[in-house]
């Protein structure tokens, strides 16, 4: 790895006149982050990143807190980085808007720019393929993002440590920890932990310091971490610095002498302990059988796949490395308060002495601090506030306070603020309760909120109020405390009975402080609520966890606030419990994550809708995607697709009958091209929340009840007029609106065709804004409330925004023209991108036996075969009929995601005599794409696409039940899916060569 010292990079940075400049001389001051805005937002979330950086940098009076410059394009990065010494560190995500990051680094090096470049990637699959080849070597270090913002802190510290280690060790003998680990994912999750522990220890040291200068020295002299990937590298460090090595944390299998060595760790441990018996060594492995051997050589041992690995590791470090408690001190040399957030800053401004305000005012510290927290508006407002502009310090102080208050009052929108009863606006605010992360879903919401607030989606031109529903988020710390206080972790990880988990969680005590906050919150809000999971891993790119955890709805209309509170707490507990349900555990097993890494935040949000008697529902719910996998002329994939339904969104995400439209061509409704099909497959019922009488004496502490209602009800409620059309049997025609007699059909014609509400325009604009914000295709969930009091604007609510999981591999795969005789299947409608040549097992729904009425049985049979093949780790090709994963068993096979999770390639064929438009609203679909499964559609109308049923019927295999056949082939199939050109094929065994 290259190291860069400021001296080499240009003029010395500002504020260098510090006493302890000699230590930690190389600091990362300027970071260039190259990623989509959403990735950047993910990192900084709501400012937590900067809080942490502040804790370390500003909090200890080290004035050079790093600045983060963010760009989303490679060419922009290249031109910015040209300026010598401009950046100390470049952090890049894998895909940039205009080029691959590998290409970007090559061009950087061609321009002789040697700033360290670190790759921070979100995509485990691509990471694996990148590491497999040589291409990753262009990066100074590769890290995997796993939902913990502290990775950034770890990266900065690691880069700094590597640069300063030699010098600092020589100067004052700073300690170091050698971490030997060549697995990117593992060191990416270790490093933040080890650094946190290091800072904690340092804080202890500072507390014991005798004077400020001493404290500062100790802070700067904190132990360094040396990350090594090979035996030789590690041993060289050890030999040279053994006097100052605090400990060794060591993998067992890592490269030695140019190749992998399964016992390198044992040798390393033995050699260390033999030469320095007092240096603790911790060995780690996936294989429990290694424990004995580790103990033999005198090392400690931890299993890498232990669900509590992180806790164990921390515990080990606590015990063996001597780490203890952590206390923060204020900024500046003198005793001053600490401000954790804007509110704390405001409080502190009331109390701190004039000198302090003058001091910081001169140095623009307020402005700088706010900028780091992305409070740009306020920062800019404060910047011209020099002391000389004011008659007195008191005036300056008043100006500062007033600016902050104004800001807090006026700009809660687009911000995640700490919940505060005084400022919480039940119609608009987005606030948090408790610390920790917001989780994936809430992060998406917060990002949407930011998009709206920054005017990307202005409301003026449409006359519609566009917003994110007001919400509070219970941070992951609340979850941690709940689990810890009630001692639930070990039980929940171990327990295989969902009902038992639920019982224990429901009976557990909720943290006092948050209970009070929720009671205050309920005092302000009197609308129905939606209680949604927002886990760390949920909705992270490429790992959607869509629909894995639970969501609850609450009428929140009981007269007694205590009843409402109990209902809310019960729902939160249920969401917590669902973290540990079998389906979630099962899902996690199919991901690279450990259950212990998963933490749950909870979003408590206004449920969008309007009361209609004893029912509550929105006029429209929908999901839209900026990329359409099934475009029909004249649409292009980039025109996107939306699916909408009347009532609550459950109808849409369950994949039931909806109206699909392209936001650019809202009048081109494919599904109503044929009157019979349009009427036959349209929405007939919808979901609503039951509103019980507000004084029900025996109101249960349970979530609200969803009820299925008929269109008749919607018509009585006056909702159908904007949504419906009328089918006339007499005239064999579908008429827009419901003014004529006939059968009511949900078509959304009055909205989409007659311009009753600019739904398509808003959806199109939001998709475009989301696409810009995330530098890639996005998916949004939304709801529309047209049932508003007259004179108030109709409302469009953005419920979720997340990156769409689309594979964009660098290498293209060629689907060459292969003779049809040698193919099992060819398709011109595919999803995914990749090739596979190791599939020996084929699971086929027999087309001759298949029967729509028995699709539930088919699903059960598929699940059984899936379980068996998954246990044997055999990937398989699934060939099915109708819409897969449909909630309506009449449209296809209603399997859940985990019932076919072992399939690597799926071929969906058309049901005989029935045209079924593939669902694009379902969670199922999202999971499918995210898991990188090749998905081929064979449409009877298209002669280019076919399945060779005869060949399948002749292949050796047996029936597994009545409808499902399991074929066992002797030679593998070859599957090639070219998602960019929309072609895919499955070649018969023996017709192709590796």
């Amino acid at each position: 790895m290259r190291t860069a010292h400021p001296e080499d990079l240009g003029p010395a940075p500002r504020n260098a006149a510090q006493l302890f400049q000699e230590l930690m001389r190389f600091r990362v001051r300027e970071i260039l982050l190259i990623s989509s805005p959403y990735d950047a937002f993910t990192l900084s979330e709501d400012g937590s990143l900067y809080e942490s950086l502040l804790d370390e940098y500003v909090g200890f009076g080290l004035t050079h807190m790093p600045n983060l410059t963010h760009v989303s394009r490679g060419d922009e990065a290249l031109s910015l980085a040209e300026e010598p010494g401009r950046f100390d560190l470049i952090i890049s995500s894998l895909h940039l808007e205009d080029m691959h990051s590998v290409e970007m680094v090559h061009r950087l090096r061609e321009q002789s720019i040697d700033t360290p470049v670190v790759l921070l990637t979100y995509d485990n699959r691509e990471l694996a393929s990148l590491l497999h080849g040589d291409r990753a070597r262009v990066f100074d270090r590769v890290f995997a993002w796993q939902g913990d913002f502290r990775i950034l802190l770890a990266i900065i510290n690691l880069i700094e440590d590597r640069a300063n280690f030699e010098r600092d060790t020589a100067l004052v003998g700073v300690q170091s920890i050698i971490l030997i680990e060549d697995d990117v994912k593992f060191y990416s999750s270790y490093l933040p932990l080890i650094y946190t522990a290091v800072f904690e220890q340092t804080a202890d040291l500072i507390a014991e310091g005798v004077n400020p200068a001493h404290k500062l020295l100790r802070m700067r002299a904190r132990p360094k971490i040396i990350l090594c990937s090979t035996y030789e590298e590690a041993w060289e460090y050890f030999e040279q610095y053994h006097e100052t090595i605090l400990g060794v944390v060591c993998d067992i299998e890592f490269p030695r002498a140019g190749g992998p060595d399964v016992a390198a760790g044992f040798d390393f441990a033995r050699n260390v302990i033999q030469s320095h018996g007092d240096i603790p060594v911790l060995l780690q492995s996936h294989d429990a059988a290694n424990r004995a051997r580790a103990e033999e050589v005198g090392a400690s041992f931890l299993r890498k796949d232990s669900p509590t690995l992180l806790r164990d590791l921390k515990q080990y470090m606590m015990e063996h490395f001597g780490f203890g408690d952590f206390i923060f001190r204020g900024p500046d040399g003198t005793e001053v308060q600490r401000a954790e957030d804007l509110r704390a800053l405001e409080d502190a401004l009331l109390e701190v002495p004039d000198e302090s305000i003058a001091y910081h005012g001169r140095r623009n510290d307020f402005s700088r601090w706010l900028k780091a927290r992305t409070e740009f508006d306020l920062a800019h407002r404060l910047r011209p506030s020099k002391v000389s502009d004011y008659g007195s310090i008191a005036e300056l102080r008043e100006h500062l306070l007033e600016s902050i208050r104004q800001h807090r009052r006026g700009h809660q929108r687009g911000r995640v603020v700490d919940f505060d009863a005084d400022t919480f606006d039940p119609a608009r605010s987005f606030a948090r309760v408790g610390g920790g992360s917001l989780g994936g879903k809430a992060r998406g919401l917060a990002f949407a909120n930011t998009l709206l607030a920054t005017g990307a989606l202005d409301t003026e031109s449409t006359g519609v109020r566009i917003s994110v529903p007001p919400a509070i988020v219970l941070g992951t710390d609340v979850f941690d405390r709940f689990i810890e206080d009630n001692d639930l972790l070990a039980f929940a990880i171990r327990c295989n009975d969902d009902a038992e988990i639920l019982d224990r969680f429901r009976a557990a005590a909720f943290p006092r402080e948050e209970t009070d906050a929720l009671l205050t919150y309920l005092g302000a809000v009197h609308y129905p609520l939606s209680v949604r999971s927002s886990s760390l891993l949920e909705d992270s790119q490429f790992m959607p966890f869509a629909g894995v955890y639970e969501t609850f709805m609450l009428p929140n209309n009981h007269r007694d606030a205590a009843v409402r509170l109990e209902q809310l707490l019960d729902s939160v507990r249920r969401v917590y419990a669902s973290t540990f349900y079998q389906s979630a555990k099962h899902y996690l097993r199919s991901t690279p994550y450990r259950l212990e890494e998963e933490k749950m935040a909870v979003v408590v949000q206004q449920l969008v809708g309007a009361p209609h008697g004893d029912r509550y529902y929105p006029d429209v719910s929908g999901v839209a995607r900026s990329y359409n996998f099934y475009p029909a002329d004249p649409m292009t994939p980039e025109d996107g697709i939306a699916v909408v339904a009347i009532g609550l969104g459950k109808h849409v995400v369950d994949g039931r009958a909806t109206v699909r439209f392209c936001p650019r061509y809202p009048r081109h409704l494919i599904q109503f091209s044929s009157v019979e099909d349009g009427v036959g497959y349209s929405q007939r019922t919808f979901y609503a929340l039951e509103l019980p009488a507000p004084d029900t004496a025996t109101a249960p502490a349970e979530p609200g009840r969803l009820v299925v209602e008929s269109l008749e009800r919607a018509e009585q409620d006056g909702v159908l007029g904007a949504i419906g059309s009328t089918y006339s049997r007499e005239n064999n025609a579908l008429y827009d609106g419901i003014s004529r007699d006939g059968t009511r059909v949900v078509t959304f014609a009055p909205i989409l065709k007659s311009g009753l509400f600019p739904l398509a325009e808003i959806v199109e604009r939001e998709l475009a804004a989301g696409r810009r914000g995330m530098s890639g295709p996005v998916e949004i969930e939304f709801a529309v409330n047209l049932s508003v009091p007259s004179g108030t604007p109709r409302e469009f609510f953005l419920l979720q925004i997340r990156p769409m999981a689309i594979d964009r591999e660098v290498e293209r795969l060629a689907v060459v023209d292969v003779a049809p005789e040698s193919l099992v299947c060819r398709s011109t409608q595919v999803l995914g991108h990749g090739a596979s040549d190791n599939i020996l097992d084929v699971v086929v729904v027999d087309p001759d036996r298949f029967d729509r009425a028995q699709s539930v049985v088919v699903a059960r049979e598929l699940a059984l075969v899936n379980t068996e093949l998954e246990q044997q780790s055999k990937p398989y090709l699934l060939i099915t009929i109708g819409r897969l994963g449909s909630a309506d068993p009449w449209l296809g096979v209603p399997v859940r995601w985990d019932e076919i999770s072992g399939a690597r390639v799926i071929i969906e064929t058309q049901m005989r005599g029935m045209r079924i438009v593939p669902s694009q609203g379902g969670h199922f679909f999202q999971n499918l794409v995210a898991s990188g499964i090749g998905y081929l559609t064979v449409d009877g109308d298209n002669s280019e696409s076919f399945v060779d049923w005869n060949w399948l019927a002749g292949a050796p295999g047996d029936y597994r039940g009545t409808y499902v056949r399991h074929l066992r082939l002797h030679d593998p199939l070859r599957v090639v899916v070219d998602g960019q050109r929309g072609r895919g094929l499955v070649a018969k065994p023996g017709t192709w060569q590796r």
């Binding site: 029909a632 004249p634 091209s673």
Partner: protein
Amino acid sequence: MKATLESNYVSDVMAEVKEKHPAQPEFHQAVHEVAESIAPLLEARPEYRKKKIFERIVEPERVVMFRVAWQDDRGEVHVNRGFRVQMNSAIGPYKGGLRFHPSVNLGILKFLAFEQVFKNSLTTLPMGGGKGGCDFDPKGKSDDEVMRFCQSFMSELFRHIGPDTDVPAGDIGVGGREIGYLFGQYKRLRNHFTGVLTGKGLGWGGSLIRPEATGYGCVYFALEMLAANKQEMKGKTCLVSGSGNVSQYTIEKLLQLGAKVVAVSDSAGYIYDEQGFDRDKLVYLMDLKNNRRGRIKEYADRFPKAVYTAVDPKLGYNPLWTHKADCAFPSATQNEINAKDAENLVKAGVRLVAEGANMPCTPDAVEVFHGAGVLFGPGKAANAGGVSVSGLEMSQNSQRLSWSRDEVDAKLHHIMRSIHDTCLRASERYGRKGNYVDGANIGGFLKVADAMMDQGLS
């Protein structure tokens, strides 16, 4: 000798047809089927052969093929190909649907037009045969695009049609909306408000009883079959399959005539209601299927005495057809009654089967019915009610009158009686008494052939 004559004649005609109409397999097939079924007739009527009636009847009187250029919503220009095959006008103006579908080509339209000639003839109404359409794909088109296309299509077609010349109707891809746009354009070009199209909206020239026509007609046909055997519908126990338009109105008419309906089905299963349907149950069923569009299973939840049986694909037959009854009205889908079902029906005492759907009985099943002496009303006769009401729409337009439901219903009954009589007479005359399949084939052909004879060479 007879077999040789028939087969020689048929093969000669087929050879000529294939030579003159190459690459139109659908048309060849249709001609072949008609030629086979009327071979005995051609032997009995040498004048037909002399005047080359069959050779003439397979040749369309006129085919119009034209360019249809239209602009989509983005201003892009598209060019499609429009057709009107005017097959035969011996007994009335050309009559037959327009089809908008990418699969449309001349061969398919000729095949459809050829079949239409005999279907229309059988109704006993003055309607010739034709068919038309375009390779336009309505899938994913906006209303405005469909309108512009229809206007362009009619801008050429209007010169070739008229209330006394050619009266198109709807078909695949042409529903009420398209008929409206086409009619509007015709009116604009001709400045005539006439019955130039059927399938019009009720408020502007459409006829009542269109959704009911097929179901009512099927029951009337069955009624006439019974009457010819000195029986009545009253008191008969009936099985009806399906639960769509045809089934619902079959049940309604059966109830009006005093029959007892005990079974009805959908694709998931069937209901057996031993007590029989009544008006209230039918109203419930119609609301369930038409408005709520629910599953028939719910019927059994609402009326607990009814028994619901789910479809069991492991059985080689449909248990619906095993219940004791007098009459069966298969009105669901193609091939829903196989030979096994037919045997079960015979065993269950069924003496009459009338096809409400298109070809619900397999050829094997039909053979079983004929072998057991069951009265069998084939779809081409028994479900001709739909076509008939199109004819009645023309009549009302010509008279500038809109008949009441009862009037249309009465006329429909009258037509179905005529169809029945035509079939029965033809079957009698050509030695197949009671075989309504042959009767329908021969009856439809005879009327056209005789008209052509009468009108001289053309």
